[in-house]
């Protein structure tokens, strides 16, 4: 297909426009985090790393950051275990209501966070579970499981089932097949699913507001700080820092899912 130079230029400008729309706000925050002035004005007159130092020494920021890391790690671990087990179950077994269960598993991701949050909150109150780190973890796990499940199920679907038969045929026990064939095949799907789950949990606000007790996770602290409006430059520094932390796992996840081609091209092309 040939495109005229004008159409090409137009297309490029369109892409540039979309990218600007997406990234200008983020870049602005990073720039302002280095602004020495307390009031954000453009252009920035003097530069400083002062706010990073303030944020670093802020006990509230530290404890909420730590809580977020803990919650995200635990939620991710639970999601890895339950999500991959659910994926195996749905993929391997053929039973009545299998499609419904598959849908139910994916639903929490589509469900508005406010509904998940309110539902969990009243459920915890009804049963009498005090809000704590663990209630946050449970809340986050509801949607983290989906991410892992989706990743693993997609990979399993693309993996030839004769691989498992071949392994058994060559004398491998079920455990050996799991260790040498199944896990290596889904390893990158697990890692990318875990990274996405971690990122989702780390910046979650809505479900967290309903499941966190007196403690703040980092997004909740940021949310509060912005509303109070007293520490805006510090918030900018925290956000810029979080941005960098989040960027790395998402980049890795994208790379891992991109490298699946190798797995795919070795798959069978036909069957009679």
């Amino acid at each position: 297909m040939r495109r005229s130079g004008l159409a090409r230029a137009g297309l490029w400008m369109w892409v540039a426009g979309v990218l600007l729309f997406l990234f200008v706000p983020i870049i602005t925050i990073v720039l302002f985090s280095f602004d020495a002035s307390k009031i954000e004005t453009w252009p920035i007159r003097s530069w400083t790393t002062h706010w990073y130092s303030v944020a670093f020494h802020d006990a509230q920021v530290r404890s909420s950051f730590l809580l977020s890391i803990k919650a995200a790690t635990l939620a991710t671990l639970i999601a890895l275990l339950l999500g991959s087990l659910a994926a195996f179950g749905v993929h391997r077994a053929r039973f009545f209501g299998r499609d419904s269960i598959s849908l139910l598993l994916i639903l929490p991701l589509a469900l508005p966070g406010i509904i998940t949050g309110v539902a969990l909150n009243s459920a915890f109150q009804y049963v009498g579970i005090p809000l704590s780190l663990w209630t946050i973890v449970i809340g986050h796990a509801t949607f983290c499981i989906v991410v892992v499940y989706n990743n693993v199920v997609a990979r399993l679907r693309r993996t030839s089932s004769t691989l498992l038969e071949a392994s058994a045929d060559l004398g491998a026990t079920g455990l050996q097949t799991l260790r040498y064939i199944t896990l290596p095949t889904i390893a990158t799907a697990l890692v990318s699913g875990a990274l996405l789950a971690f990122a989702l949990s780390f910046d979650e606000v809505i479900v967290t507001t309903f499941t966190a007790g007196a403690q703040n996770t980092l997004p909740i602290w940021i949310f509060g700080a912005i509303r109070l409006g007293q520490q805006l430059p510090e918030v900018n520094a925290v956000v810029a820092f979080v941005l960098i932390i989040m960027f790395i796992p998402i980049l890795i996840a994208a790379r891992l899912t991109g490298s699946e081609n190798v797995v795919r091209s070795a798959e069978p092309s036909r069957r009679t």
Binding site: T162, E165, A166, A168, D169, V262, E267
Partner: protein, 338 residues
């Protein structure tokens, strides 16, 4: 190895999937070191039968014995049987040498011996030098060889091959047919080979079982399968065959045994002669195919080698009156049931 028992013995094996019966009662003995082929159209039950011998499917009825030992309920990983899969099923995350050594690794064969045997197997399929390649970096024919090496390295009692050459192009397929047969002779392992390609079956096998509708129609040597088909189905499935009804009996005769007798020629002595009209002439290069409508009813196809054929002998014969002749011993009566 036990000499008195066949490598594989099947008795009354039945497999149903829901309402349909894939294998409808099969009895079969496959001897040690035999190259045995299950031949049939798709849906004839040949692959299901193979999968039951491998242990991937359990029969609903019947008995499977491997070297005289009941293996009907033995799981796939405990059977002394290895499979070459139609899609090769190479492990995509492992290199060639790890793929080949997989069976030895899970059997906890020491590393040194594993390496030696894997390399020997690769050498046998002429893939030395490809040890560290990934399956995705191999051509179809090379993957096929890796799959073969991975199966024979374990020195199984029986090697099962599920249309292993199906994905290869014609030339490569013919090369691999010769090579497979050669490898089978050298390792002396019983091969059970599934194919829908009758030429492949005739070229490689010691014996062929023709399957249709979940049943074995005939088990015989390639020669007898071709020359003495036991049923209409076998006659029609193996090669091209002429089916004629004469005096209420079904008679079959192969096209290359039918002599075309034109004006001025005399039919062979003692031959059965019929008159007819040439309706179609197809020039095929090495041979020419003539279809003759017989006065006594039915059509007969005759093949003629183009040894001294002139141009007018080919297309020019269309519409001409001719005689066809075949020796009585070349025509066989068959049962129409089948």
């Amino acid at each position: 190895m036990t000499g008195e028992h066949p490598a594989v013995r099947l008795r009354g094996v039945v497999k149903r999937f829901g309402d349909s019966t894939a294998v409808a009662g099969v009895d079969l003995d496959v001897g040690h070191g035999e190259f045995f082929t299950l031949l049939g159209p798709s849906g004839s039950g040949k692959t299901t039968l193979l999968r039951m011998i491998a242990g991937f499917e359990l029969p609903d009825e019947g008995l499977i014995e491997l070297a005289g030992v009941d293996a009907t309920a033995v799981p796939a990983n405990a059977r002394d049987v290895n499979t070459v899969f139609q899609d090769y099923a190479l492990f995509p995350h492992m290199d060639v040498i790890s793929n080949v050594g997989y069976g030895l690794m899970v059997a906890k064969v020491p590393r040194n011996e594993r390496k030696k045997r894997s390399e020997a197997a690769l050498d046998m399929v002429r893939l030395t030098g490809f040890e560290s390649r990934k399956p995705a970096q191999l051509s179809g024919g090379q993957r096929q060889r890796v799959a073969l090496a991975r199966a024979i390295v374990n020195e199984p009692e029986v090697l099962l091959l599920d249309e292993p050459l199906g994905a290869l192009d014609l030339k490569l397929r013919q090369e691999m047919q010769v090579e497979l047969k050669d490898i089978q002779r050298r390792v002396g392992i019983t091969f059970i080979y599934v194919t829908h390609d009758q030429e492949e079956a005739l070229t490689m096998s010691d014996r062929v079982a023709v399957m249709d509708g979940g049943r074995i129609q005939q088990v015989d040597t390639p020669f007898r399968i071709y020359e003495r088909p036991a049923s209409e189905f076998v006659a029609g499935f193996i090669g091209v065959s002429n089916l004629l009804e004469r005096d209420g009996r079904q008679v079959t005769v192969r096209p290359e045994k039918v002599h075309l007798v034109t004006d001025g020629e005399t039919p062979p002595a003692g031959a059965h002669v019929e008159a007819g009209t040439v309706t179609e002439v197809v020039y095929l290069g090495m041979v020419t195919r003539y279809i003759v409508a017989l006065d006594a009813g039915g059509n007969v196809t005759a093949l003629r080698q183009n040894v001294e054929t002139q141009d007018e002998d080919t297309v020019g014969l269309r519409g001409r009156r001719v005689q066809v002749a075949w020796l009585p011993e070349q025509a066989y009566e068959i049962s129409s049931a089948g």
